[in-house]
Symmetry: C2
Subunit: 586 residues, 2 copies
């Protein structure tokens, strides 16, 4: 929400900023009792108050989010011509992991001094203020004052002081919210105030920058110029002479599970239809993938299009030829439309003219190079994003495209990448980028790298591994719809699954079961472990699914620490709720 972010992402001007900015969120106050103070955030970010949204993801370290990336797509209701990227780091969490401490209080801040000794009083006092003591009437009055001043400043065409007041407004709203003083109707009305101002300020900022001729430049235009200079991808020169496997891999930044599934469904239908339309004979078609790659594999794809003769019926012969047997304008028009010469016209027994053409039989590589980009561009998602100025839209940024027919590479451009012959393995691999010599070699490379392309196999592996781990502590996993959904989700969050069994303090079992399972399933994507017996009660264990090769003890300890923090947070709210009579919750 810094002006260095909100205002500067608007418009075409390029902008890079590194800003060490502490974040103050009244609602995150915990009186210093929760070991992790910063709240976990959603993958996709949206600020209705700022009329802003972006797509991105979290980076988890042993089950804990430590970094977040967001590609901003809109701010103040303005579509951003230059998509802006924000990277935030949870420094406290990273330090806790490095120092191996379980509570932020215990972080060694400097020699002989802990974080708690430095900041605990501040945390406690500001929690008291934010949650208990801040005067609601006073803040309602501030809200009105700041709103008026912000409006006055937009009236004076001063977006920067106006935005300063929008920030004050926003913080005042957050504080009222943390004090539990914002009703449902009021929330909508206050959000509308904030959003309206944000839009007005963003529009005003853009006008003012445009009046100054965008002094920092126009990144979209510069990017366009760069793209023009690179030119179109050249067509492939070689092509197989006999049926050969075909491989298409679209490499992405991690796709959200629902987008992965949507893409696979659309690709499966789309590729089948495309091969038919292109008259390309083929064997089995397999479409599968992981969060980082959409993979299309076709067995024995024909080297070139199936030969086909096309017959089109023209006008009746009595209309096609005049009395002298000369072609009439009707026949000449038909020939032109059908793209044939008069010599290709014949008359059938029924007295109709027919034109016959042999459809072209191009190499499969050329036909696909031409047709694939449109198919890929047609993939649609709940929310698409752009990541380059004036660039393509997709679920998440496309980073590479690999396309091979046998060992012949296809050459086309898609989503600001040129297709090539290399793939990328796990980020932690010794050589993260490898060449793929031929479509047939791909499966082996992936298997060798520990990447399970086929999601049904991946799903089954996770399930079996999880069941075995549960059994090792005398437990089982309940087979419910929620479990199936979670299994689907984790299957689509990893490409190299490892199941890790962890435990938690049995004291937490005193919390209502729904609290525990919600925390485990919804926030952490963990499977709960139940007593395999008749009562099926929860055991103090959980199952996490990590990605890539892991050090089990380390990952276990990390995930346990995170779950503990989550349960502490849940207990904090649960106890708070119990202190309030039910009637007040209405």
């Amino acid at each position: 929400m810094s002006p260095a972010t909100f205002l500067r992402v608007l418009g075409p001007e390029p902008w890079s900023v590194a800003y060490p900015e502490p974040s103050v969120r009244p609602d995150d106050s915990r009186y210093g009792e929760n070991p992790n103070r910063v709240r976990f955030v959603e993958d996709n970010w949206e600020s209705p108050a700022l009329g802003a949204w972006g797509l991105g993801w979290e980076v988890w370290l042993d089950g804990m989010e430590v970094t977040q990336f967001t590609y901003f797509q809109q701010a103040g209701g303005e579509v951003l011509p230059v998509p802006a990227v924000e990277i935030t780091y949870g420094l406290e969490r990273i330090i806790m992991a490095i120092q191996g401490v379980k509570h932020f209080k215990d972080i060694q801040y400097s020699p002989g001094l802990t974080y708690g000794e430095m900041f605990l009083q501040n945390e406690q006092e500001m929690s008291r203020y934010n949650l208990d003591e801040a005067c609601v009437a006073d803040h309602e009055a501030r809200f009105r004052l700041y709103e008026e001043e912000a409006r006055r400043m937009t009236g004076r065409r001063l977006p920067i002081p106006a935005y300063e007041h929008l920030l004050k407004l926003s913080h005042t709203f957050n504080l009222l919210d943390a004090r539990g003083a914002v009703g449902v109707t009021e929330r909508a009305s206050k959000f509308a105030t904030l959003r309206g101002l944000a839009r007005e300020i963003a529009g005003l900022w853009l006008q003012r920058r445009a009046e100054q001729g965008f002094p920092l430049g126009d990144a979209a235009r510069e990017q366009e110029a760069r793209r023009g200079a690179v030119g179109e991808a050249q067509s492939s020169s070689s092509a197989p002479s006999a049926p050969a496997p075909f491989l298409l891999e679209i490499g992405c930044e991690e796709l959200p599970p629902e987008d992965l599934r949507a893409a696979l469904q659309q690709l499966e239908r789309g590729v089948a239809r495309l091969l038919e339309e292109l008259r390309l004979d083929h064997g089995a078609l397999q479409v599968s993938g992981t969060p980082r790659r959409l993979v299309v594999r076709v067995d024995a794809l024909a080297p070139s299009q199936r030969a086909q003769r096309l017959r089109s019926r023209g006008p009746p012969a009595r209309v096609a030829f005049d009395a002298a047997g000369e072609p009439t304008p009707a026949l000449l028009g038909f020939c032109k439309r059908a793209g044939v010469g008069l010599e290709q016209v014949s008359v059938d027994d029924g007295g109709y003219t027919w034109a016959e053409t042999d459809l072209e039989s191009r190499p499969a590589t050329h036909a696909l190079e031409e047709a694939l980009p449109a198919l890929l561009r047609s993939l649609s998602f709940g929310k698409s994003m752009r990541w380059l100025p004036g660039g393509a839209a997709f679920s998440r940024p496309v980073r590479w495209t690999l396309a091979l027919h046998g060992s012949s590479p296809l050459r086309f451009s898609f989503a600001d990448t040129d297709s090539g012959t290399s793939t990328r393995l796990l980020r932690s691999a010794e050589e993260p980028t490898v060449e793929v010599a031929s479509a047939a070699a791909y499966d082996n490379i992936m298997t060798h790298a520990g990447i399970q392309i086929d999601r049904e196999i991946r799903r089954k592996n996770i399930w079996e591994e999880a069941c075995a781990a549960a059994a090792s502590v005398g437990g089982a996993i309940a087979q419910t719809e929620a479990t199936e959904q979670l299994l689907d989700e984790v299957t689509d969050l990893v490409e190299s699954p490892s199941v890790v069994l962890g435990s938690f303090d049995p004291d937490f079992l005193q919390l209502p079961e729904i609290v525990l399972t919600t925390v485990m399933r919804k926030h952490q994507r963990y499977f709960g472990v139940r007593n395999g017996g008749a009562d099926g009660r929860l055991l103090p264990h959980f199952l996490a699914v990590a990605n890539g090769p892991v050090s089990p003890d380390l990952v276990k300890a990390g995930n346990e620490a995170v779950l503990r923090a989550r349960f502490e947070d849940a207990r904090f709210f649960y106890r708070g709720d119990l202190r309030k009579p039910l009637v007040e919750h209405r």
Copy 2:
């Protein structure tokens, strides 16, 4: 005003902090028109609003303040047991000097991007807001709200949220002030509000820290322990056997001119009286100094105290002796008080008893070692400061003490230093610290280092150099009381003076003369140059006095840039004042 400063300097706990904090001062708004935006500050800092004060100084780079040191002595009305030091840097000015640009707009912020391109719009809009557009009634209302909330929080014993609101209060006050909306009575009343709250919050913070047992420790006690471990300075072992020069040098961080003069006067009287009291015969006594050193030089100081016989009159003989000629209790009591034995009692012609004692004749070194610390401690200043926890008080921190009788060092402690045999030269000297073999060697060392100890000679040199420089452009310096005062002041600001002649744009001569001379004399400590003829009008030149060896062209250019900024600022205000009818200035 950061809580990391204001609150943490209170109490005995040690605290070090480096905080990159942009400073927002509404009153410094200049619509981006002045090349230097930050205002020059006084040597000694005081915030009546915070009940805080400190002593310190500015570091000038070619006539421009680029850094400031303050030793805080009080905050929130509390005397600080651990004196806190704050160092602030004028980064923009330092960069301007390094990059050789004359306006902050022209600073190269990054390749291809100027500071103006980055921040000018912000500067202009916030100036509009601070000086013209901020709603006064709105800010009056904020002031009331923030005050109430601050009071509520002190009532809840929450100093940190209370201080947050004091900061808001203070900024609101500054903004009202910049809008010209604070009358004289109102200012006093608002200051009283701020100061009262600051005191309350500071007291509350200290209570809360004490309740927690000062978790970060007690720096004053630790310092005390260290001092105890070092122990008392040992007495000198050698002493001259014949009259020899005596030298005492107290080395300080730069003394303010008035403190330097006060110290020299007190020392001159005090040393003369001390030598007499100690019966130390001596030749000429010279007391002089520079901002960095107070120097006492005594010619031919006796090697030891002058021998003296002390006669005290006792009771009449008829009372002193009984009928048997034995001493009465009256005589015995007299002997005890006078510290003599009966054998030293005689009876004079008038019938009175007398006791005679020879006063001790100790070496001068020993006598002075014993007596000097008390004399030095008795020096008094308008404002004294402490710079170590529980340490000594002086005008500015004492950094070394040098005392030699002939080549015999004196050993005593003063102001947290132990006397020694070395002195320090100019900070820019190749070897800033040198040993002084004997008192007689001192003058040569100083002369060789370019340091003019004698302030009368220094004053005369500056005057002659300045007159010559003025004459070189056909001008002269007006011999007025103000000139004399300025000459006194610059004499006491340097120890190695160099006069630099600079020029300014003759356009500025259109400003009233009083404006120009005030800026030159008061803010910059420059001498103005006048037409030597009958009209005596100002010429577009000035004379600056630098310290230490300088590169004249560089210093000239630097001082010219600073004066230009000052004159721009003066013109800004002068024009603003002219736009307002005289009646409104009432």
